[in-house]
C-alpha cells in the first residue's frame, strides 16, 4: 500500500490521488492557518488557484496539495500553525481583531519607535507560508529557449482544439497533466480526443509546465519540474479556463466550503466530501456538480439563491440561503458554491499585445464544451473572441473574507475606505487585499466591485494590475544561465597559469595580476627587460578612401600630422567633449591606419567608429582585430637587445621612430612593433597573429634569460604607469573630465575645422577651470580614494597612489578643486601632507623611452 507522511502521520495514497485528496480521505480538514488571524482553512478551490492548501513537500515549500500528485514515500508538512495546523497557539489572534485593525502596523507598534524592531520579529515569525530548506549552494535550473509560431497556455478543451488547428510550430503549456482537471466523462473524452489530434498535428505538449507571465515579444517563461523554458512566440492563445466565483458572506472561510469544480474534482478521485452536501448553484453547472458528488457517496441538495451566512466551529455545519422561495437554513458538512464564473484571466490582462488572445472559458466563462472547442479553433484562425462578462456575479455580503490569503474582511475594506483610501489600487496597497499567494485569483473582481459600490471616481474602480510572476519562482529558476559573466582569455592563458600567476578579472578579461613578486617585476622592467601580455588591447584596422576623414572627424588629433611609419597618442572624446578612451594611432605605409584602444573600451570604440561611418555615410572599412592579434610588450633598457637576439631586422630609431612602428620578424613571427611609452622604458609592443602568441612568448622568455627576464602583470603595471603620471581611465578620470582637466590639451588639435566634441570644448574653454588632475607626493602611505583637504575642507581626492622605489617615496594622482580660483599646492590627506608636483615623476624628460 502506497503511503505518504503528513506531519509525521502515515496516510494511504490511492492511484491518481493528489496530496489533498489523500489527506481529505484520511480525515484532514484543516490544511493551513490564515496569515493574520490564524483561522482554520481547508480545501476550497480544489483546482490550484487559492492558497489554502500550501504544503511543504520533501523539504520544498509552496506546493498546492489539491493539484500535486501524491507519491509513495513523500514527506508532507503543513506550513502554518504552531505547534501544528490542528492545534495552533496563535489561534488567539482571531480574538485580537481590535488590536490588529486594517493597516495596524502603521498604527500599533510603530510608537515608541524602539518597539518596532521587536514587534517586527514577532510578527514575522507568526506569519508566512513555509520555510525554505537551508541549501549550501544553488545550482541553476537548466534553461532552454523554444521558438514557436503559436504558444497555447492551457491544455483543456479550448487549448487543445486551438493547438490542433494552428499552423506552423505549435506548443501547449499545461500546468498539470492533460485531463486532470476534467470533472466528468464527457469533458475527459473531449480532451482525450483533442490531445490525440494535437499530437498527430505535431504539437509539442509540455505537461507540468506553468506559464508565469507574458512579457513583451510576446515571450512566456514556463516553469517545468526541472527546467525553465523561455518561449518566444509569434502568437499566444490563453486558454486557462475559469473557476467559480469566490463567495463573500459571514463564515465564508470555514473548512468544508468548496468551489464547485474543485469539489467535483476531489469527488472524481473517489473521495466523499461529506455526508450532507449543499450545492448553491446560480450557474448551470449545479446538476453536473451534484452528480459528481453523489457518485462519491455524498447526499446532495442543489439549490439556487444568495448565500447569506455559513456557520460552524472547526468546519461548516449549516448554511442560510435566500432562495426564490425565501430564506432557508440547511444543516450540512459540505457547502459547495457555484455562484458565478471567474475567468482565470491574469495572463491575458498582463499583455496589451494584439498577438495575445483568449479562447474557451477564459473569455466565455461557463460555455459548453462545443463552444469552447469552437472558440479554440477560431483563435487558431486568428479571430479574436469578444470576452463575455462574467455573469452572474455574487453579491458582496456585509461581512466575510474578501481576500482569503491576507485575511482582509469586508469590514476591513469599509474601515480603510472611511480612512480615505478610495481607489482599488490604493485599497490593495493599504489592506494588502489581492497581494497574497493566490495573486488576486479569488478576489480581484470583488475589490473592484467594492469600490464601484462605494462610488469611487471613474478610473479608481478597476481591477488591480496583473503582473508576473503568477507563481513564486525559486532562485535557481531565475538564475538559469542568464546572469553569469562571460570571460575573455588571451592565447597565453595557460602560460600565465604555468608561471604561477594570480589571475585577476579585469573587466571581461582574465589577466595576470602578478607572477609572485610584483616589486621584482617592476625592477625587471626598470633595470633589465620584461614582457607583458597586452593581447587584451582593442585593435582596429581602418581603410578605405574616407579612412582619414573618419579618423579626423572622430578624434581630436590631426591625422595629417601622423606620417606613414609614425604613431601618435590618441584621445577619444564623446560629444560632450569628455575623455572616453585613449590609445594609439599608427599610420601604415599602405595608407591604412592601425589603432589601439584600452582593453575595456574595445567594443565601445568599434561602435563609436561604426556610428560615424554610418551617420556621415563614409566609404571607410573598419576591421576589429582585437581577437585576431595577440600583443606582447617588451619593455626595459635591454628591450632592443632582446629583440636583436631574435630578429635580423633594423631596430634602430631610424627604422622604428618614437612614437612610431615597424613591421619586423621576431623569432620567425611577423610582428607590427609599436614603439610606445606607457611604462616609461624603451618598449616595443609586438602585435602578431594570435595563433603564434605562445611561440613568441616562449622565444622571448628563453632568449631573455640572458638578462634575467621576468614577465610583469597588472600590479606592476599600475606602479610603472603611475611613476610616469599616466592616467587609468575611470580610476583617475571622471565621466566629465575634458582634456584640460587632465592636462591633455596637447593631444587636441583645436585648429581643425571640426571634430567630435570640438564645440563642447570651445564652450568649456570659456568657463573657469574648476578641477584638475595633479601629481602628488606624500610624506607617508595614503590610501586610494582618501579625500584631500585644505584647512579641513575637502577639495579633492586621491585617485591612485603607490610606494615608488624608482623615484623614492610615496607618489600618486588626485583631482583637486580650485579654492578662490587658485589650485592649492599643499594639501592634507588625513594625517599626511600631500604636495602637488609636476608629472612624470620618473624620467621627466622621457629619455629612457626614446633611447
Amino acid at each position: 500500500m502506497a503511503t505518504l507522511r503528513l506531519d509525521g502521520r502515515r496516510i494511504e495514497v490511492q492511484d491518481g490521488d493528489t496530496i489533498g485528496a489523500a489527506a481529505f480521505r484520511a480525515g484532514v480538514r484543516t490544511f493551513s492557518r490564515s496569515l493574520k488571524s490564524h483561522r482554520r482553512r481547508g480545501l476550497y478551490c480544489g483546482t490550484g488557484d487559492c492558497a489554502n492548501c500550501l504544503v511543504t513537500v520533501d523539504g520544498m515549500p509552496g506546493a498546492r496539495a489539491c493539484v500535486t500528485e501524491a507519491r509513495d514515500g513523500m514527506r508532507v508538512t503543513r506550513e502554518t500553525g504552531w505547534p501544528s495546523a490542528d492545534r495552533d497557539t496563535l489561534a488567539i489572534m482571531d480574538r485580537m481583531h481590535w488590536a490588529t485593525p486594517v493597516g495596524f502596523y502603521y498604527k500599533v507598534f510603530s510608537r515608541p519607535r524602539w518597539l518596532w524592531p521587536l514587534a517586527e520579529r514577532v510578527i514575522r515569525r507568526a506569519t508566512g507560508t513555509g520555510t525554505l530548506p537551508p541549501t549550501e549552494h544553488v545550482t541553476a535550473t537548466p534553461t532552454r529557449f523554444l521558438r514557436v509560431d503559436t504558444l497555447v497556455i492551457g491544455g483543456g478543451v479550448a487549448g487543445l482544439a486551438a493547438a490542433a488547428a494552428a499552423t506552423g510550430r505549435v506548443a501547449v503549456a499545461e500546468g498539470g497533466s492533460i485531463g486532470a482537471a476534467a470533472i466528468d466523462p464527457e469533458a475527459r473524452a473531449a480532451i482525450d480526443r483533442l490531445a490525440v489530434q494535437a499530437r498527430v498535428a505535431g504539437v509539442e505538449i509540455l505537461e507540468r509546465h506553468a506559464a508565469i507571465g507574458i512579457y513583451e515579444g510576446p515571450s512566456v517563461p514556463l516553469l517545468g519540474p526541472d527546467e525553465l523554458v523561455e518561449v518566444e512566440a509569434s502568437r499566444v492563445i490563453v486558454a486557462t479556463g475559469a473557476i467559480e466565483a469566490h463567495g463573500v458572506f459571514p463564515g465564508n472561510d470555514l473548512p468544508g466550503i468548496w468551489l464547485g469544480r474543485g469539489a467535483a474534482r476531489v469527488a472524481a478521485a473517489g473521495v466523499k466530501i461529506g455526508d450532507r452536501a449543499i450545492v448553491v448553484a446560480n450557474t448551470d453547472a449545479g446538476e453536473r456538480i451534484g452528480a459528481a458528488l453523489r457518485a462519491a457517496g455524498a447526499h446532495v441538495t442543489v439549490v439556487t439563491g444568495r448565500v447569506l451566512e455559513a456557520r460552524g466551529r472547526t468546519q461548516v455545519s449549516s448554511v442560510t440561503v435566500l432562495t426564490p422561495q425565501g430564506r432557508r437554513a440547511y444543516a450540512c458538512d459540505a457547502l459547495v458554491l457555484s455562484l458565478g464564473w471567474a475567468p482565470r484571466d491574469s495572463l491575458l490582462r498582463m499583455s496589451p499585445d494584439p498577438e495575445v488572445v483568449g479562447a474557451g472559458e477564459v473569455v466565455l466563462p461557463g460555455c459548453s464544451l462545443t463552444a469552447a472547442e469552437d472558440s479554440g479553433r477560431a483563435a487558431a484562425r486568428g479571430e479574436s473572441v469578444e470576452a463575455r462578462l462574467a455573469e452572474p456575479w455574487p453579491v458582496l455580503e456585509h461581512e466575510g473574507y474578501v481576500c482569503v490569503c491576507e485575511d482582509v474582511r469586508v469590514h476591513d475594506l469599509e474601515a480603510a475606505w472611511e480612512e480615505g483610501w478610495t481607489s482599488s489600487e490604493i485599497l490593495k496597497r493599504y489592506t494588502t487585499a489581492t497581494m497574497g499567494p493566490c495573486q488576486a485569483a479569488l478576489c480581484s473582481r470583488h475589490l473592484a466591485a467594492f469600490t464601484q459600490e462605494k462610488g469611487a471616481v471613474p478610473g479608481a474602480t478597476g481591477r488591480t494590475t496583473a503582473r508576473p510572476p503568477l507563481r513564486a519562482p525559486r532562485l535557481e529558476e531565475l538564475i538559469g544561465g542568464v546572469h553569469e559573466q562571460a570571460e575573455r582569455r588571451t592565447a597565453l592563458h595557460e602560460r600565465h597559469h604555468a608561471l604561477g600567476a594570480r589571475m585577476d578579472h579585469s573587466g571581461l578579461w582574465l589577466r595576470p595580476g602578478t607572477y609572485g613578486e610584483f616589486r621584482e617585476e617592476i625592477r625587471a622592467v626598470r633595470q633589465r627587460v620584461s614582457v607583458m601580455d597586452v593581447s587584451t588591447l582593442g585593435k582596429f584596422l581602418v581603410g578605405g578612401r574616407d579612412a582619414r576623414a573618419l579618423l579626423d572627424w572622430t578624434f581630436p588629433l590631426d591625422v595629417a600630422s601622423v606620417a606613414p611609419g609614425r604613431a601618435r597618442y590618441l584621445l577619444a572624446l564623446d560629444e560632450a567633449g569628455y575623455v572616453m578612451d585613449d590609445g594609439l594611432l599608427a599610420a601604415l605605409r599602405d595608407g591604412t591606419f592601425f589603432l589601439t584602444s584600452t582593453s575595456g573600451g574595445a567594443d565601445r570604440m568599434e561602435a563609436w567608429l561604426r556610428n560615424w561611418i554610418d551617420r556621415l555615410d563614409l566609404h571607410a572599412h573598419l576591421v576589429n582585430q582585437t581577437a585576431q592579434l595577440g600583443a606582447i610588450n617588451v619593455a626595459g633598457p635591454h628591450a632592443r637587445d632582446l629583440l636583436a637576439a631574435l630578429s635580423g631586422d633594423d631596430l634602430s630609431r631610424e627604422a622604428i621612430p618614437y612614437p612610431g612602428h615597424g613591421e619586423i620578424e621576431v623569432a620567425g613571427v611577423p610582428c607590427r612593433a609599436l614603439a610606445v611609452g606607457f611604462v616609461g622604458e624603451l618598449s616595443y609592443e609586438l602585435h602578431h597573429p594570435r595563433g603564434r602568441s605562445v611561440e613568441l612568448w616562449d622565444a622571448l622568455l628563453d632568449a631573455g634569460r640572458r638578462w634575467d627576464i621576468r614577465p610583469h602583470g597588472l600590479d606592476a603595471l599600475d606602479v610603472l604607469r603611475l611613476e610616469k603620471g599616466h592616467v587609468y581611465l575611470a580610476q583617475d578620470t571622471m565621466p566629465d573630465d575634458h582634456p584640460t582637466k587632465l592636462g591633455l590639451d596637447w593631444a587636441v588639435a583645436m585648429r581643425k575645422p571640426d571634430f567630435v566634441g570640438k564645440r563642447a570644448l570651445e564652450r568649456m574653454a570659456q568657463l573657469p577651470l574648476e578641477r584638475s588632475l595633479v601629481g602628488l607626493r606624500f610624506d607617508g602611505s595614503p590610501q586610494r580614494g582618501h579625500p584631500l583637504t585644505v584647512d579641513g575642507a575637502i577639495v579633492g581626492r586621491i585617485t591612485s597612489c603607490t610606494e615608488s622605489e624608482a623615484v623614492g617615496g610615496s607618489i600618486g594622482l588626485g583631482w583637486v578643486r580650485a579654492v578662490d580660483g587658485v589650485f592649492p599646492a599643499q594639501l592634507r590627506a588625513g594625517e599626511l601632507t600631500a604636495t602637488v608636483v609636476p608629472t612624470p615623476f620618473y624620467d621627466p624628460g622621457g629619455e629612457r623611452l626614446r633611447a
Binding site: 515579444g217 515571450s219 567594443d603 568599434e606 561602435a607 561604426r610 556610428n611 556621415l616 564645440r759 563642447a760
Partner: protein
Amino acid sequence: MSLLVPCPTCGDRPFTEFAFGGELRDVSSPDTASDFARVYLRENTASAQEERWFHLLGCRRWVTVRRDTTANRFER
C-alpha cells in the same frame, strides 16, 4: 522579457543583443549655443521617435528605427 528590435540584416532580435544609442540627433552644430542643446537636451516625446541601436551581439552595425515610446513598439 523581449522587446524585439528590427535589425535589417539579422531580423527581429531581443533588445538584449543591442546597445541603445538614444534619440536620433544631428551629427554636429554650427555654434556652441546650439551644440549644448544638441548634446544635452532631448525631445523625450510620448509618441514615435527615431532612435539609434547598435547590434552588439549580432552584425555589429547601427540601425535607425522608429519606436513609439508609449506603446513601446517599433514601427516597421
